[in-house]
């Protein structure tokens, strides 16, 4: 009997080791696939133009081959031109704009999403399902179509003017993206999973609908809300087309727009990928710092909701 137990345990352990090896091998492979673009960005940011074009590509560089001027030239002051007295790539200006836009958009989206999801999940009002169906229907309209209509709206509201102010450009860049039907749908599903008994109990205690939302619904659905915040801020961070369309002045641009054209020679059409990747690396660093700082919260949110960006 004990022999059988030992054999079973051995088989179990062998199976477990095999399963662990397979899991870690798969995870390592996925990690490599995810990390390679970051490594390549870093590597390219240290290459000269010719090293970049070498075939087969150089997979690593000796420190003596590092072209650190790709980084230093980003901060070199321009003597004249629209950016006179400023660096070639006004990194900190662009970064500030991106951070501000990301925070405003994410805060706005989170608030509207929570309120809308709560209304569709909990409150009973006439035509609720029809309105929700119409909202879902808008998800099937390609996003590009909204660029034109949003642009017309922004222009007619007087937010796209020749003497556009920083306040106007912030409204123009953020307001059209302060709602998300997908996130509303996503959070509504989470809200609907919360038992009705909690609602009735709260009502018996004299809690208002808004109080119930604040004290019960939001804490219970916080992993989903964290996920929404993460996904939305990532989207806002990398937004490209809309910010490029509604910004009238160079100093209002986001890093994504700055990265696109700042390093291409207009005559030959060649892009200085070394400088571009150096700038991209600098843009990625704040995100990495953010990730490592809030790693636990992010992982909790992602693992509970089962959604990843």
């Amino acid at each position: 009997m004990s022999d059988v137990f030992v054999i079973n345990e051995k088989a179990y352990r062998a199976k477990k080791i095999l399963s662990n090896v397979a899991s870690y091998a798969f995870l390592t492979l996925v990690a490599v696939i995810i990390l390679v673009p970051f490594y390549w960005m870093l590597l390219t940011s240290l290459k000269s133009q010719l090293l970049m074009e070498e075939i087969p590509p150089l997979l690593w560089l000796k420190p003596s081959q590092w072209q650190l001027s790709n980084y230093s030239s980003l901060f070199a002051l321009v003597q004249s031109g629209p950016r006179a007295g400023s660096p070639l790539f006004p990194f900190f200006t662009y970064l500030r704009n991106t951070v501000v836009v990301s925070i405003i958009t994410t805060a706005g989206t989170t608030i509207t999403t929570i309120l809308a999801a709560y209304a569709f999940a909990r409150l009973n009002f006439k035509g609720r399902d029809v309105v929700f169906a119409i909202l879902l229907g808008t998800m099937m309209v390609p996003g590009e179509i909204f660029i034109l209509t949003n642009f017309l709206t922004i222009a007619k509201l007087g937010l796209y003017t020749w003497d556009q102010t920083y306040g106007q450009v912030l409204i123009a860049m953020t307001v059209p993206f302060m709602t998300s039907v997908f996130y509303t749908f996503y959070l509504r599903q989470t809200f609907k999973q919360i038992p009705n008994e909690l609602y009735y109990a709260a009502k018996v205690d004299g809690t208002s609908d808004f109080g119930y939302l604040l004290r019960v619904m939001i804490p219970v659905a916080s992993p989903t809300i964290v996920t929404i915040i993460i996904l939305n801020s990532m989207g806002a961070w990398s937004a490209y087309v809309w910010p490029a369309m509604v910004t009238m002045k160079d100093e209002y641009r986001l890093v994504s727009n700055g990265l696109r054209g700042a390093f291409t020679d207009t005559g030959s059409g060649r892009t200085d990928f070394g400088q571009q990747m150096a700038a991209a690396t600098l843009v990625t660093v704040p995100l990495l710092i953010l990730f490592f700082t809030f790693r636990k919260q992010i992982m909790r949110g992602v693992s509970r909701s089962g959604i990843k960006g």
Binding site: Q49, L50, G81, T138, T149, R260, G261, G267
Partner: protein, 586 residues
């Protein structure tokens, strides 16, 4: 039922959103007629050519000289704000800002705000969106296909009334740097490179919606050291070459000569994988000529060999026997290693393998000249430079014929292909135009600014400072000194002379190492080549996508794919041509 409802709602939403957009569609012809009637003293007449819009230079205007009484007018004296959108980064805006400041000194009531929109796509998209709400700049840079779209949307302003106006304006503002002088909006178009003009009035009615600004072309970089090693054999072919290996800079090599040079300068060695390699010991390259842009190669070869490609009406003309013959000929040149494309090495540009010594010659943009100089682009592993840091020279792009409308027979093996050829070199680069939304005062000052920006001295300054080519012929004899570095200034004429002196001394000009002429030698070389080639520049007709064919920008891309499909062996010439046609017409 719910799904059906959802589908219905989404369809209704999509159409209602599209329907909300109101796009101004004023016809440009009406605008021109209105403007033309207000301008009475017209001296310049615009004539279309009989061979309409095929990309040749015959669409230029004819000017008749008539004696008219001088009409004096007053320039608007209100404060005028002009917005100028371009794509220049900080490297090129220093001079632009200087020119703007000079202009504002001439017209103190004018303020010009120039803004870089990063890249051409963003610039075009912002303008196209801006057209829907009347928020377009006063003037902007753009390629011909951009202006074709603006014209379609009724937003581009025909410059003809300004160009042909005889009104003379006296500068009465005492704060002006030209106080007491007179200016006029009329423009002597005969001073511009004819093909640049043809490109800018190729649109319906042959009106000018833009004028040339930052232009470039292609030239061919050659490995002087390899040429020098084969001087005797090259001279035996009747090709002019100096003792130190410099070819003629005025007379282009012909395609037949390239095939003859192939026998002398191209290696027959292959590596273990069967890929051609350079024969260093015998000074022979793996291939003869690398062509940077496959699209340009297709289009330019079409023009050289008289094979129809497109026209300004937007017709895709490639489905013809001459184009197929051309592709068969090119296929043979790919096969025998006379021609090659960078895609063979997975490269985007030809300069890398030129520097490495894989090819002896490389055709590329005048704006990318420095990438062809080995000493300025040393790789990590110097052994990759098969001929070391060799000397580079620049010559005109090879031609099929030596004069226009010349019959030529080329051979693919023993198969002869006969064409009626023309001289051709591509012209590239943006133009500058004004938008209709501007007020009449803004239009006048914007136009005066364009005139100032493109006058003889400024086009020369711009060319030397940026590496672009002058828009005006008179720039080539400009005597205005330009400060190129802190210690070096030169006129455009002297700038051109740098390479002329170098060539006259057969590559040994006797300059000391610190002489700053070395820094401008290669730019000077391509400027001279461009000058020789500008007599046969050809532009690419611009047109937007139509109901049954793609636009000119897509046609160029597909032309490039066609040649890449042939060289990679993916398609035969006939199949590649059919694939191209099926992508461009429907």
């Amino acid at each position: 039922m719910k799904k059906l409802l959802l589908l219905l709602v989404s369809v209704i939403l999509t159409f209602s959103i599209i329907g909300c957009v109101e796009i101004v569609t004023t016809t440009t012809e009406e605008e021109w007629t209105t403007e033309a009637t207000t301008t009475t003293n017209t001296t310049t007449q615009f004539t279309g050519s009989t061979t309409e819009g095929t990309g040749t230079t015959t669409d230029a205007l004819t000017t008749t000289t008539t004696t008219r009484p001088v009409v004096y007018g007053d320039l608007p004296d209100e404060e005028v704000e002009i917005t100028f959108w371009h794509i220049y980064g900080s490297g090129k805006t220093a001079l632009l800002d200087q020119i703007i400041a000079e202009f504002e000194g001439m017209f103190p009531n004018v303020t010009i705000t120039s803004t870089s929109q990063s890249d051409y796509n963003t610039l075009r998209e912002k303008i196209q969106l801006g057209i829907t709400v009347g928020m377009v700049p006063t003037l902007a840079l753009g390629y011909p296909d951009h202006f074709a779209n603006y014209i379609d949307a009724g937003a581009a302003y025909s410059l003809d009334p300004l160009i042909s106006s005889d009104i003379v304006y006296e500068i009465t503002d005492s704060a002006s740097s030209i106080f007491g002088e007179t200016v006029t909006t009329s423009l002597d178009l005969t001073d511009f490179v004819p093909s640049y003009l043809a490109e800018n009035n190729q649109y319906t009615g042959h009106h000018y919606y833009s004028v040339p600004y930052s232009k470039s072309t292609e030239t061919m970089a050659v490995n002087v050291d390899v040429l020098k090693a084969h001087i005797t054999e090259i001279r035996a072919l009747g090709i002019t070459i100096s003792d130190n290996g410099y070819l003629s800079h005025e007379v282009p090599l012909t395609l037949n000569q390239l095939n003859q040079l192939n026998a002398i300068m191209v290696s027959s060695l292959v590596d273990g994988a069967g890929d051609p390699i350079t024969d260093i010991a015998n000074n022979k390259c793996a291939y003869l000529v690398n062509y940077d842009s496959s699209g340009n190669m297709f289009i330019n070869m079409s023009r050289e060999l008289g094979a129809p490609y497109t026209n300004t009406s937007g017709d895709i003309l490639v489905d013809n026997a001459a184009t197929l013959s051309m592709l068969n000929y090119i296929d043979m040149m790919f096969e025998n290693r006379t021609m090659v494309l960078p895609i063979v090495w997975d490269q985007s540009y030809g300069s890398t393998n030129f520097i490495y010594g894989d090819v002896c010659m490389s055709v590329g943009s005048t704006a990318g000249v420095n990438y062809n100089i080995p000493a300025n682009n040393l790789p990590a592993d110097l052994a990759k430079l098969k001929f070391g840091a060799f000397a580079t020279d620049f010559v005109p792009v090879p031609q099929a014929v030596t004069a226009n409308n010349q019959a030529v027979t080329v051979y693919a093996g023993t198969t002869p292909y006969s064409f009626t050829g023309n001289l051709s070199a591509v012209q590239q680069g943006p133009n500058i135009g004004i938008f209709k939304a501007a007020s009449s005062a803004e239009r006048i000052y914007a136009w005066l600014f364009i005139k100032y920006l493109t006058n003889t001295d400024n086009t020369a300054r711009w060319a030397m400072d940026t590496g672009y080519l002058p828009a005006r012929l008179s720039a080539y004899t400009s005597e205005v000194p330009i400060q190129l570095t802190g210690t070096f200034s030169t006129t455009y004429n002297d700038f051109l002379q740098i390479s002329l002196d170098f060539w006259a001394a057969d590559g040994n000009p006797g300059w000391n190492e610190a002489d700053e002429r070395w820094d401008f030698l290669y730019k000077s070389m391509v400027a001279n080549i461009a000058r020789y080639q500008n007599e046969y520049y050809q532009y690419d007709p611009a047109f937007a996508a139509g109901s049954n064919s793609a636009g000119s920008a897509t046609a160029r891309v597909e032309a490039g794919y066609c040649l890449e499909n042939i060289i990679t062996g993916a398609y035969s010439p006939a199949t590649a041509l059919q694939a191209m046609k099926s992508q461009l017409t429907w």
